[in-house]
């Protein structure tokens, strides 16, 4: 049974809302039940933008994740402080070690420190750091197929940004390689 509850959190501009939307779309393409709930308003001020994503094979009851996240994807330091406690014991904490030097205080979750900005820079585009992280996430959880994520990306990008798909595909692969 799948009942994945993911928090994606980081600075505005790091593409955390997009990461959440891609997983949500991909889940929908695979006929799973999904919801995407963004933070908005004053919550967004002061360093963190975040969204709650649920992918389940049963109808989503509450779209709110409240100390029951199965995975938290943390892209910046304020988000680590704010969200590391939200992950259930045995859950996954993915930390962008390119920007966060601090270690997690949790010893009851699986913690992965991933230098996603460095990998993105190696690919020649710092903006795909979120996709590197997403690739690692997909490899760890297998919640949806990477090809569904690419399909979702094609939908969001439209024809104007179609040429960026191969770069994003590569970023997903490099992310997956980080945790293989």
């Amino acid at each position: 049974m799948i009942n994945e509850k993911i928090i994606f959190a980081g600075f505005g501009g790091q593409g955390v809302m997009l990461m959440g939307q891609l997983i949500t779309y991909a889940g929908m393409f695979e006929d799973k039940e999904v919801s995407w709930l963004p933070s908005y308003g004053p919550e967004m001020r002061g360093g963190t933008a975040n969204c709650n994503v649920i992918v389940s094979d049963q109808a989503v009851a509450s779209p709110v994740i409240s100390y029951n996240a199965t995975t938290a994807v943390i892209m910046n330091l304020p988000s680590l402080d704010k969200f590391e406690a939200e992950v259930i014991p045995g859950g996954i904490l993915m930390i962008n070690s390119s920007l966060i030097e601090k270690k997690s205080s949790r010893d009851d979750v699986r913690v992965y420190y991933l230098p996603v900005n460095e990998v993105a820079n190696e690919l020649g585009n710092a903006r795909v750091a979120n996709m590197v992280m997403l690739g690692a996430y997909l490899e760890l959880t297998k919640i949806v197929e990477p090809k569904s994520v690419i399909k979702a990306l094609a939908k969001i990008f439209g024809t104007a940004k179609e040429h960026l798909i191969p770069l994003n595909e590569e970023a997903l692969k490099r992310g997956a390689a980080l945790v293989k």
Partner: protein
């Protein structure tokens, strides 16, 4: 048709256009701004009209005027904006015109906050405007239900010649869920022979009006309106009953709060505690029918709301002394947690079980 992923507010716009809404008048306010944004972009493509009015008061009066000409028209706003529209809503009800009003509720009173709330229950169901009038009020719990009910709202508004309100909260407005625009059954609706569309000199003019200076006339008008509201009470009550068999405690919750209650119910079920849920889908008429037959195991009701307790009065009315009615709520933009609800229910049952 295939499912698409849509933000609640955008889905409201798409559903309205699907239902034949060609006219939208509004004034911006968070957290519903994606509704006017969507309408401003999409309505011109279908030959419709979008106007950003100079105020909420102006917007609702534009709705009044458009409705008087018989077209399908909608406005949307959020709590304090809906408060400003109340005068116009009363006029539209008094003049017996169809219109759809969306309220994406935020914390109050006053300007309050921009986070989700359900503290406009009384404003929606008791009438924030003057006089003996009622609105048909829908409260969807997910984006799909929002899309379905919003389209139906236009039919019901036309059928009853009455404004229909659709109430969501900031959460349902901002979240994305898959939706499907299903083929809808054809509804036979009466011709709009009352609309003020010009006589071409062939008939007496139709008059759109809510002023009756003769008390006898106004009383007669009110008696007729009340008969219409009674018909809505008889025919339009809607609800979902969930896990009611052997329920010890029955939660009453609507909209997104009902979804959080469901999580609490599932957790308590694992502990062997049976809790049911009655989810009003129509806030007015309140679904009295759901309360007619209760499980013999039921010991109490609890109204769970994102407010300080407004629907609790209706639960007490329908309980009619049969069972005690308790309350759990968060307000001001705080969202109830399953843990909070579970804690309250455990307390009601008597300690940890």
């Amino acid at each position: 048709m295939a499912k698409v992923l849509m933000k609640g507010n955008e889905a409201i716009g798409a559903a309205a256009i699907k239902a034949g809404c060609k006219h939208f008048f509004g004034y911006p306010i968070t957290p519903q701004n994606e509704v006017p944004e969507y309408m401003s972009k999409e309505l011109p493509k279908v030959g419709g009209v979008f106007v950003q009015a100079e105020s909420e008061v102006a917007a609702i009066n534009m709705v009044y005027g458009a409705a008087g000409s018989g077209v399908r028209v909608m406005t949307s706003s959020s709590s304090p904006g809906i408060a400003l529209k109340q005068e116009g809503i009363s006029y539209i009800a008094g003049a017996e015109l169809p219109a759809v009003i969306v309220n994406i509720v935020r914390g109050g009173p006053g300007l309050g906050s921009i986070q989700p709330a359900q503290s406009d229950y009384n404003q929606s169901t008791r009438g924030g405007g003057d006089g003996d009038y009622k609105l048909l009020v829908y409260a969807p719990a997910n984006v799909q239900e929002m899309v379905d009910l919003l389209q139906e709202a236009f039919d019901k508004a036309d059928y009853y010649r009455n404004p229909v309100m659709v109430v969501g909260d900031g959460m349902i407005g901002q979240m994305m869920e898959p939706v499907e625009f299903k083929e809808r059954p054809h509804v036979d609706l009466p011709a709009k022979d009352w609309a003020a569309v010009g006589t071409k000199g062939l008939r007496k003019p139709n008059v759109i009006n809510s002023l009756f200076l003769q008390p006898e006339d106004l009383e007669e008008h009110n008696i007729r309106l009340t008969a219409k509201y009674q018909k809505m009470k008889d025919n339009e009550q809607r609800y979902e009953a969930y896990n009611m068999e052997n329920a010890e405690i029955i939660c009453v919750a609507y909209g997104t709060t009902a979804r959080i209650v469901k999580n609490a119910i599932e957790t308590l079920k694992e502990e062997g505690i049976n809790v049911g849920l009655i989810r009003p889908i129509t806030l007015w008429p309140f679904p009295e029918k759901a309360f007619e037959v209760l499980p013999e195991t039921a010991k109490a009701f609890i109204s769970v709301e994102m407010s300080m307790g407004q629907m609790i009065d209706d639960v007490k009315i329908v309980s009619n002394g049969r069972l005690p009615v308790d309350f759990y709520g968060r307000s001001g933009g705080m969202i109830p947690t399953p843990e909070g609800i579970i804690g309250k229910i455990r307390e009601m049952i008597g300690g940890a079980k």
